[in-house]
Symmetry: C2
Subunit: 347 residues, 2 copies
DNA sequence: GTGAAAGCGCTAACAC
DNA sequence: GTGTTAGCGCTTTCAC
């Protein structure tokens, strides 16, 4: 509210006050190399510009240079999501480092809105577009035809670069953490594995692969939704009907949370009776008691890489455009894993 | 990566193809009232524009109109924060509704970065600036001199509009929830109250006020940091050394989480033995067992109001510029409050 | 070493 | 009803 925009100082104003032409001022301010401006003139222009509080008009400059130093980030609802923020933050920080600004928009998963947003972004001549989803995996692309577009945390049928978490590798990490502690038997996967949900599918595959290579295998699956409540119910049922598992691989921290509650209610101790490992490494992992060993989602890095790609300055990327770029998921070891209680004989 | 920007269709291209002047096209496309364009011409222009995929160049338009339809949102690290996302989301959604785009930047609390960002935003002629913090409260303002600036979740010494959560009212809500259930005695506040941290200070004041009006009072304070671990320790200590409290008012959900753990370890049941009420209404509140009654942080609304203010279209706001605008914190009743076990005699 | 001037794509006053 | 044209503030070629 209150007073409106202040009158802007133009290049011409600075030029007049400094007693030179706009060209000179432009050259000085843009530090144009080889434009032999005398040191005195240079200093004078600089001083006057500062005194007058000159600030270049980005619209005018963009109109002229065809460059906006702006990247558009369209997401379905990333900002909303708890973990998703890191995706944005990585992109934000990196864009800033490279002197770009990020325009963040959310489509709320509405294709119509999304189309409109793309239009708007294109009209603003953004230098690049990042298309992100929180759900990972997904296909429908709005009618984007912008030279520099990258997919963040999703894929499409179009030949576009995509930045994804290496969920398969993450699955291996989780299994290996258990294997390192000596676990071979009584390992259960807790969560919901479907073919359509990439993270779950890949994590599962990674787990089975790593376990298999060590001559071990999953004892079973405890199916539940991605929420604590559902996990609590499923794990409780499992505990009451069968022999207690020795280790739980939970498909995310919220599921692990539910499992913790169920384990506690059943009088089982973590990690003494049951080891638990999980995915996402959300804040929850540090809040649980004992703190939860979790395989981290590399969202910050993914955001960073997306911007680097869209800006065309990612080396690793340069020789493999139009491809999936997998970002490692490191395991964060905490206190929820211990050696199996009754020393299980290695298979 | 891959191919670069596509050649753009200009207004002139559309005009030529449609066999009219640019003025006509401009008038048609901008739906300028009272510019008697014949229906045939209008339709033809519209059709041609669509066929050619015309999209106005925002830079050129802004240069001409002095309006960018863009709002800059500078935060210290809101995007990062778990709850903070809603602040952005509210702003994002509202900006979109009013056909504006949001440029989100984070200063990471670095004043130097912040200054730079403000410069950049101003250079881009944003129509307004929203300055947000996640910590609430704070004073130092970068050298902003933009007509339309509002403070979101913070205040300053400058005479700028500020959108804040009504933490005092929220404190009353929390206390009232307990009072309604019949609690009068054995009520403890869990958390860290200091004069410098507005949310804690105001919540505390609200609690005491509401309690006082009902002839009750806080039995004591259980001091701890804002994290589960710290809360767990503090509450555990309290439980082992003194009579068990009948109700806990936790200064946020994370503290409540720690309290839940401590209560469980002490064999106390929620809400039968001890009632718990908290603040923030984060996802955690729904994950806890029993689900936690919590006073919600109205972040989405705050973001919305900030944009409406900066755009100058908030009625409630219009007649009270340069003032603090408090947004109500509604209590979300769940299962963590019950009548006190041993019927306490009303004071 | 410095300046004049063209032009980026658009809007809008003014002319016809 | 429709077209001509002047600029918005900047970069940059070319001339001096």
């Amino acid at each position: 509210m209150t007073r409106d925009r202040l009158p802007r100082v133009r290049l011409r104003d600075v030029a007049e006050r400094a007693g030179v032409s706009v060209t000179t001022v432009s050259f000085v301010l843009n530090e144009r190399p080889g434009s032999g401006i005398s040191v005195e003139t240079r200093d004078r222009v600089l001083r006057v510009a500062r005194e007058m509080g000159y600030r270049p008009n980005a619209a005018a400059r963009s109109l002229r240079t065809q460059v906006t130093n702006t990247i558009g980030l369209i997401s379905d609802q990333i900002v909303t999501d708890n973990y998703g923020g890191d995706l944005i933050r990585g992109a934000l920080a990196t864009a800033l480092q490279h002197d770009h600004l990020l325009i963040v928009v959310e489509s709320q998963d509405d294709p119509e809105v999304e189309r409109h947003l793309v239009e708007d972004l294109l009209a603003r001549q953004v230098d690049g577009i990042i298309l992100a989803t929180i759900t990972s995996d997904r296909i429908q692309l709005p009618g984007i035809r912008h030279g520099r577009t990258v997919l963040l945390n999703c894929t499409s049928s179009h030949a576009l670069p995509a930045i994804l978490a290496d969920e398969l590798g993450g699955g291996r990490e989780a299994a290996n953490a258990l294997l390192r502690a000596g676990h071979r038997h009584g390992i259960f996967l807790v969560g919901e594995v479907t073919d359509t949900l990439r993270p779950a599918r890949e994590r599962h595959r990674g787990v089975t692969a790593a376990l298999g290579e060590a001559g071990a295998e999953l004892e079973g699956m405890i199916g539940c939704r991605w929420w604590p409540e559902s996990a609590y119910d499923a794990v409780s049922t499992q505990l009451s009907s069968r022999e207690a598992p020795r280790a739980l691989i939970c498909l995310n921290d919220r599921v692990a949370f539910g499992a913790y509650q169920a384990l506690a209610d059943a009088g089982l101790r973590i990690p003494d009776d049951v080891s638990v490992v999980s995915f996402d490494d959300s804040e929850l992992a540090r809040w649980l008691r004992p703190q939860l060993t979790s395989v981290a989602l590399p969202y910050f890095d993914m955001g960073r890489i997306a911007v680097e790609s869209v800006l065309g300055l990612s080396q690793e990327w340069a020789h493999a455009p139009d491809q999936e770029h997998l970002v490692a998921m490191p395991v964060r070891e905490r206190g929820s894993i211990a050696a199996p209680r009754s020393g299980a004989a290695p298979a």
